[in-house]
Subunit: 77 residues, 2 copies
DNA sequence: TCCATATTTGACATATTTGACAAGTCAAAT
DNA sequence: ATTTGACTTGTCAAATATGTCAAATATGGA
């Protein structure tokens, strides 16, 4: 699988979870430990950046799911 | 959870899978698509670096497991 | 429409991953 | 003791993730 396709899938999953929790990007940023910005959330959700595992971990915690759940895509990759 | 703890868990999981497949780091690098170096495998396995999701994905493919399986730790995180 | 909120995008600086190579460590075998 | 294999560690440069701010664009409601 292409890098860009992987990043799109990851991003869509983040967005899907965020919206299902009724959170805006601003809300999500407010719940994330440490520094982060809607800029980065936007870039991750749109697949424009290749996030590190720790960044994804922090996002998963803010979304009240485990990292494994965050990465549990519908598509098998 | 601390960043360093997360990275150690991820690294141990990579190492555990690699060894269970009877591969050396050199073997693994040989199976990974695209450029990579045993230096990075070593750093990831020891938790000294915070790999991107795409790097972990490439490693998972070389280990013949899905990304989700690679990140399926014993410890719930 | 207008207004407020939400998101995206660009520009820039900083931090860190990654790739590459060299050198070091360590254990095992001969 | 030397060699061999596996892994670690250091350094360097390049690419890129991240952080920050500002501006532009989209979205939805009154």
């Amino acid at each position: 699988m292409e890098k860009s396709d992987l990043l799109k899938i990851v991003g869509k999953r983040v967005q899907e979870l965020r919206i299902s929790k009724g959170l805006t990007q601003v809300d999500l940023v407010g719940k994330i430990e440490g520094e982060i910005d809607t800029t980065n959330i936007s870039r991750i959700e749109s697949g424009r950046t290749n996030p590190t595992i720790f960044t994804l971990y922090r996002i998963s915690k803010a979304l009240d799911v485990s990292l494994i759940e965050l990465l549990n895509f519908k598509t098998e990759i």
